[in-house]
């Protein structure tokens, strides 16, 4: 139930996958929205705090997700997928993980540029490590924005590919991530 099976993802992997998807979409929109708030907006202080706290929790979720991936490997690619499709999918998945961590790292470097820790909903703080690099907050901010755009674009492509397999090829790629085994090959 919890574990992945040969024909579909298990409950834990699915939960983590969709949780990450929702969090990434939310953090992206929240990030773009919050930087345009004005000083007298009620969310001026809380929105960035929520963005940072949620971003740190996302990082923990991703670490758990990678750990679980080792304990319970994902189902193998569908036999109907061409070799290039499998390679593209694997490369995209790796790049998604890489971009996720790079976006989180750059966000962390913005907030900790002067040595201040990141407060996570009053639960705990992530201390600053690298701080005081020349122009750190501005550079990290630029990198954060562009990597986040890259991440969300790649995630969009990833979603389009899954939809194409599900609804055009009708091979059940998406079903496997929704708890149903793919339909048996015709």
């Amino acid at each position: 139930m919890l574990r992945n099976r040969a024909d579909r993802y298990g409950l834990l992997a699915m939960t983590l996958h969709w949780l990450v998807a929702v969090l990434v979409a939310s953090l992206f929109s929240l990030g773009l929205w919050m930087v345009n708030l004005t000083y007298y907006d009620a969310w001026y202080r809380s929105a960035p705090a929520i963005h940072k706290g949620t971003g740190v929790l996302l990082c923990l979720i991703l670490i758990a997700r990678l750990a679980w991936r080792r304990l319970s490997p994902p189902p193998p690619p569908l036999a109907s997928h061409a070799a290039w499709e499998r390679q593209a999918a694997t490369a995209a998945h790796r790049l998604l993980y890489g971009l996720l961590f790079a976006v989180m790292l750059s966000g962390y470097l913005i907030s900790t540029a002067d040595g201040r820790p990141i407060e996570v909903f009053g639960l705990f703080r992530v201390p600053a490590t690298l701080s005081g690099l020349p122009n750190q907050a501005d550079l990290a901010g630029r990198v954060h924005l562009w990597l986040a755009i890259g991440l969300v674009s790649l995630a969009g492509l990833h979603a389009l590919a899954a939809l194409k397999h599900q609804f055009i090829d009708r091979d059940g790629t998406l079903s496997r991530m929704l708890g149903r085994p793919p339909r048996p090959p015709a």
Binding site: T38, Y40, R45, A113, D114, R116, A137
Partner: protein, 203 residues
């Protein structure tokens, strides 16, 4: 992020001068002293303060600037000063706020990397204070400003040099320089506090 707030401005001021030997019968040609502002040794500060919501003062400074001034002890009215400030060096002791201050809402440092002050005149009050006038260019806008100057002191330093220093203060609404981000009614005006020490280059 925490209280991001304010902004500020550069400044400057000064002294210095030119000499009118012909008008000073009998005096040996007095010399106009030429000074370079001691930013290298950090004996000069471009600081600002602005009210936070009307509840307290927020202080900050510009860390990277340079300038020079001339001063004639016998005719201080002919003093002159020029200062250039790298706006990206704003420092209010909060990285996220400084990032905001460097951005489009405030200094827009990518577009306006330098703020300058060039004096146009100095009128000493005769009691060690005076009024410096000049043109401040900030955020791409050039406007006249008036700086209240206090002549603090001058003399030989312990290392074989000669130094002269001043304190200057001015204030202006940020929106005069096209910076109109709403920080609230109590935070319209920024005060600039300049502390300048020059090391004499001539003689």
């Amino acid at each position: 992020m925490s209280t991001r707030s304010r902004l500020s401005l550069p400044l400057l001021f000064a002294l210095g001068a030119a000499l009118l030997p012909g008008l000073l019968p009998g005096s040996a040609a007095a010399e106009v002293e030429q000074y370079v502002i001691d930013t290298e040794g950090a004996h000069a500060f471009v600081q600002f303060r602005i009210k936070h919501l009307g509840f307290s003062w927020l202080y900050g400074r510009f860390n990277d600037f340079d300038g020079s001034f001339s001063y004639d002890p016998e005719d201080s009215a002919s003093s002159a000063i020029n200062v250039a400030i790298r706006t990206a060096s704003i420092d209010s002791n909060h990285a996220e706020r400084d990032k905001h201050l460097r951005g489009k809402d405030f200094l827009h440092v990518d577009k306006f990397p330098t703020a300058t002050f060039a004096s146009t005149g100095y009128s000493p009050n005769g009691d060690g204070t005076g009024t410096l006038t000049g043109e401040l260019t900030l955020h791409g806008v050039t406007r006249p400003v008036t700086i209240a100057v206090e002549e603090i002191g001058a003399g030989t330093d312990p290392w074989g040099g000669y130094r002269r220093g001043f304190q200057g203060e001015t204030s202006f609404p940020l929106k005069d320089f096209g910076i109109d981000y709403d920080l609230g009614p109590a935070a319209q005006v920024v005060e600039i506090i300049l502390s300048v020490e020059g090391i004499r280059q001539d003689g």
